[in-house]
Amino acid sequence: MSWIKRLLRPIGIVAPYIFRNSQTVAYPTERLIFKDRFRGRHKFYFERCISCGICARVCPCASIVLVPAEGHEKTYPSIDYNTCSFCGYCVEYCPKQALEFTDVVELAVKDRSTLKYSPEQLSVVPEIKDLVPRMKRRIEAYLTDKEMKYRKVKDV
């Protein structure tokens, strides 16, 4: 009667799932630690930029425009996050590594015109705990034999 055994075996497979940990992240209270290469918001270094304009030319979404900035004599990139696709060409092809990626993804605003970041705004990156005030822990994922679990790495 292997037919009956095959009919009843799924109950035995599904039932133990009730006792496993849930694999969800309770977002404002916990936040994942992203890996090193994660492509979040940009960070700009004024002192390294030479105004060559390669970032503006290589950007496939036409999101970078060189604008003058206060207190500096050359023009510097301003990134429009309405159209930026976070592809990474501007970071990779900058000859002086003046642009870098951070792991900030909390970019939501109420007014779209404020998403055009000027060079001064790009050079200052706020801390995650200021952006997400309800956060209490940073977690990361690890694998055991049967399941993927989340463990706490540090308190905030």
Binding site: R9, V14, K35, D36, R37, P60, G88
Partner: protein, 371 residues
């Protein structure tokens, strides 16, 4: 669009865009009760004009829009365009880069097949339990992608001449650990789902597609291999490192929905074998050759054919000596399989209850079909 007129004794149901399981399309069904007499697929809801967009980007910048064509299977589409661009520019790719490309493509294929598997389970009424489990398992793969490339699905890892970045520290052990974890999970899926008599009842002998019909109508991918015909672009015109890797083409002879589901399932197993082989035997070397983002390709016409998770995709590229291509023509696999789906109503008996099961066994991705 002007639809064909309907016979007076039939009822036309619009499996429309507002439907829990229709995806981003509208399918018109002519039924008389439960049996479906005719299917008319009304695609085009997500047409974005990617072929025209690619004419305004350089060969390097064109990789970004074309990735957005199919979100679960990004690497296999990128590699089609990159291979065509390399043929146009005349660049050779070093060997380590080819192996890394194969690794990313195979992980992307597992990603897509897991997603299709979960949708198939949901379509047979299996309540979204299996769909959520496959989403959780895809998290393991997405974490690996994030570590290697920097993003979870729009990785943009290939460029003409190689790949952007090399393996980070300790990555090979993580690949082997993830492959071991996924193999354990598949035992659960096999026993709880595919060997489940109620799932078999739903999937056996449904929508049978004979081999001669499959070849005549132009099926491709797991739809073709589920009818017993062993055609796979990775063996016909080997690109990346597939000629050096150790794998087989999976075919099944039953020609029904269950055969296609099993083809996808076993293809995941083959991809896991390839992942482990790459992690152990990848050769050392460079990862990119010299390439300028503003390179100009000489005038010419180049074709590349690759194997997506859903079938064969071909990209036809015309260049004319400027940085941007002159014309790009993409032939996606889902469009060819949707044509087969329309003819399946005449070839076999289907009821309304079979429609979601059959759609998910053909596994179209409408963003792919509309470009």
């Amino acid at each position: 669009m002007s639809e064909p007129t309907i016979k007076p004794e039939l009822m036309r149901i619009s499996w429309g865009p507002q439907h829990p399981m229709s995806g981003q399309t509208r399918i018109l069904l002519d039924t008389d009760g439960e049996k479906v007499h005719k299917i008319i697929a009304d695609l085009g809801y997500t047409h974005r004009g990617i072929e025209k967009v690619l004419e305004n980007r350089s060969l390097l910048g064109g990789l970004i829009p074309i990735e957005r064509m199919a979100m679960v299977d990004t690497a296999n589409i990128s590699i089609g365009y990159v291979t065509a661009a390399e043929k146009a520019l005349g660049i050779q790719v070093p060997e380590r880069a080819q192996w890394i490309r194969s690794l990313v493509c195979e992980m992307s294929r597992i990603n897509s097949h897991l997603y299709a598997f979960g949708l198939q389970a949901e379509a047979t009424g299996y309540f979204p339990a299996v769909f959520i489990w496959t989403t959780v398992d895809r998290e393991v793969l997405l974490d690996l992608f994030e570590e290697l490339t920097g993003a979870r699905w729009s990785f943009n890892h290939f460029l003409p001449g190689g790949v952007h970045k090399d393996f980070p520290e300790g990555f090979k052990e993580k690949i082997i650990e993830a492959a071991h974890y996924l193999r354990n999970r598949f035992k659960d899926y096999w026993n709880a789902m595919i060997e489940n008599p109620m799932f078999e009842m739903r999937c056996d002998n449904v929508a049978i597609l004979e081999p001669k019909d499959a070849l005549r109508l132009g099926a491709t991918g797991p739809v073709l291999r589920g009818s017993g015909i062993p055609i796979d672009m990775r063996k016909e015109e080997p690109y990346a490192a597939y000629a050096d890797l150790d794998w087989q083409i999976i075919t099944e002879d039953a020609c029904d929905v269950m055969a296609r589901t099993k083809v996808r399932f076993h293809e995941i197993g083959q991809s896991l074998n390839m992942m482990e082989q790459i992690a152990k035997e990848i050769p050392e070397g460079e990862i990119k050759t010299r390439f300028s983002p503003f390179a100009r390709a000489p005038a010419g016409e180049h074709i590349s054919r690759v194997e997506n998770a859903r079938g064969e995709m071909s990209i036809h590229l015309w260049t004319n000596g400027t940085t941007n291509p002159y014309r790009v023509k993409i032939m996606p696999p889902s469009l060819r399989n949707m044509y087969v789906f329309e003819r399946l109503a005449e070839l076999s008996n289907m009821t309304i209850a079979d429609i979601p099961v059959v759609i998910n066994s053909i596994d179209p991705w409408y963003l792919d079909a509309d470009r």
